[in-house]
Symmetry: C2
Subunit: 410 residues, 2 copies
């Protein structure tokens, strides 16, 4: 019993921290509570002694199932539910009508056959990625409504009455959900996505800077960069699924804050992909840290200044980019810092070119083209290449991404 | 209209390919159809003129909502549904009883207050990762049932009757789902996870081999490796979410095939993480291919043989590992191939040590420790370091992983 209470205590502690970290989550819970209370109060006032199956339950059910954390998700689910119900209802009524006209023997065959076929087809359509992404919930509701109507065994005239009632309760439920989620301290999926990307970009900059600083730190200075900063890029690696679902929900949201209805959400996914490429490179850089002691110290000292310069400038570009994203404006500082970075990259290249040591491989080394000549010395510098070439690749790929992105937003 | 029909045709074509690629998906759809038809047939025989809200609809609803692609997911959802309903039902009845005893004025306050509090608390618990992972659906059902009972306004005695009915229909629905999903060509999440890991391991081996072959290929041989193989590792990068949900569902599954009930599914996630680390390295390797022409050709020729040897041996280890996983046995060949790989890695190191060229940096180079001496020449070989050091890091990390893994399974 003591063990169990310890566990419970730990669980509650964790939950408390979760709430303190993001108070909006607590707000969301209260919102769900409010929405449910309002719906139930509405029906509690005139009790439904005609059964739990009365129309009231559909409104309650809609609220429970449809209410999601973000506005986009709520709207998407609401629309899915409404459209799925309508379509399935119409189809079911149609088939019912045909079945009722075709005699007693054929009726069950038609009803059961259509149920089997439609359920199978709708389930299959859930495997198609395009449907899965946007209408997964809608197809579930479609199957549900269709089979419920089929089972009901009502006459067609009565079905119309019922459909009207059900539709009205669903509309009550969904509109209540949408209103509560939009008006009471809303959480916009678009806003969340926007912040996530900006935060990730800053994390990327931090861990890039920490990583290179760590590499060139000989243990003489105190290690100012905790492991936490160094590992910050891991968030970027693992955030793909979140970003995609956010972008998906954001597309459903109306204009809010500084975002328009047709905000280019897909661009965010592109930036995220570019950032993930960067994170892979940082991952590779990080693996070099473990054998940093194997590099010659003299060489490291020479390189550390310019490498740090490249890195700080690229880090500042990332930060600049984050600010640009935040304000939707291309600052003039951006161009300057890109130029600065390119300059320092060139400086590193030049320095490496000027290094005395050249690989004395078989005689062909004299006859190399100028292009290989640049690349060669760059790689004669022990272990630095790994640190240097990868950022170069990364930064250039990021640099290519920057203009397209900034242009898309401004 | 023509445009629309074109689109529809393309959609159907895609869906058809999906079905042909994985016929089990089609089977799954047919299974859903069968399960629904059976349930509806059961109730169609004795029509429910007492309303759609009759108990029958809960069986139908359970089938629609609970039936998932894999056995594990179906069982997990069924249990969630059953437990959520029971818990919420008991609680709701208890609160109802208290409320009914406390007079007319207090009653609505108690009912509404408890609904608000419990709905908020349950929604909040969905944010806790541990709950989210295993009981997300259960909490939704908990809220749903609790609020439905609260709204119903029944007397306590009648509630017990209703609870019995509802429970029986849910048991009918869930057991039908579980039976259909387990008996009619079942898709086990564990099996799927197992195959996915093995397939990914093979993909990793393929793209590793292709990548290195591509790098050392001077365009003289025909490019035998299509881009597809080269990009195979990308699957490994993006499969994290799938693997986690699979492992989660697999934990719910009973013994099947060669898997026991308490199969170490978490070990699979560990292997997957190690594989993802490898994939990051391959990503870095791949980025080197674009500037492969900048490396000196003579050097490349010298290195290509041994590098290819290292890579083919590590590739074969990956394949071997995949076979080991498949058969749950540690083959004796494994030890040999690991030794072989270590040998060829050592060979590369030795070769690099024997290279004539050494970096002629400031005089300190003579006074280096033996450890740096090994590392130094390793990196004097133009652009090869990038190709070479990273696999070394990767393979050693994988090698550390192998014994723990194999021991866990055998």
């Amino acid at each position: 019993a003591n063990k169990f209470s310890m566990r419970l205590l730990r669980f509650l502690k964790k939950a408390w921290h979760l709430g303190v970290d993001d108070p909006r989550k607590v707000f969301h819970c209260l919102k769900v509570g409010i929405a449910l209370s309002v719906v139930s109060l509405f029906y509690y006032m005139r009790p439904l002694y005609d059964g739990v199956g009365g129309t009231a339950m559909w409104a309650v059910m809609t609220v429970v199932v449809v209410f999601e954390n973000t506005v986009g998700a709520t709207i998407s689910k609401s629309l899915n539910r409404a459209i799925g119900t309508c379509l399935a209802g119409l189809l079911a009524v149609g088939i019912h009508w045909v079945a009722s006209k075709s005699g007693n023997k054929l009726e069950p065959v038609i009803v059961e056959g259509s149920l089997f076929l439609l359920a199978s087809a709708a389930t299959f359509s859930r495997f198609v990625p395009a449907v899965k992404k946007k209408f997964d919930y809608g197809t579930v509701i479609f199957i549900l409504t269709f089979s419920l109507v089929s089972v009901s065994g009502y006459r067609v005239e009565k079905l119309f009455d019922m459909a009207k009632q059900r539709l009205s309760t669903i509309i009550i439920g969904t509109s209540l959900c949408i209103l509560t989620s939009m008006l009471v301290s809303p959480i916009w999926a678009g806003q969340e996505l926007h912040c996530l990307i900006i935060k990730n970009m800053e994390k990327l900059a931090t861990s890039l800077e920490c990583c290179v600083a760590e590499y060139f730190d000989d243990g003489q200075k105190t290690t100012s960069a905790p492991v936490q900063n160094l590992q910050a890029y891991k968030c970027v690696l693992n955030s793909k699924a979140t970003e995609e679902s956010m972008a998906n929900f954001a597309a459903w949201e109306p204009a809010h804050g500084s975002f328009n209805f047709q905000h280019p959400w897909k661009q965010y996914l592109k930036i995220a992909a570019a950032m993930r490429d960067c994170a892979y490179c940082i991952e590779a850089l990080n693996s070099c840290i473990s054998n940093k002691k194997q590099a010659s110290k003299s060489m490291k000292k020479h390189l550390s200044d310019i490498c740090l310069k490249v890195n700080s400038s690229s880090g500042s570009i990332l930060r600049e980019l984050a600010i640009n994203l935040e304000t939707f404006k291309k600052t003039s500082k951006m161009d300057i810092s890109i130029e600065e970075m390119n300059n320092s990259v060139q400086e590193v290249k030049n320095y490496l070119k000027s290094l005395p040591g050249l690989v004395l491989t078989p005689t062909t080394s004299e006859t190399k083209s100028s292009e290989t000549a640049i690349m060669e010395p760059l790689l004669t510098t022990n272990t630095i290449p790994l640190v240097e070439v990868i950022p170069l690749v990364t930064f250039t790929s990021l640099l290519i991404e920057i203009p397209t992105r900034v242009e898309a937003i401004v």
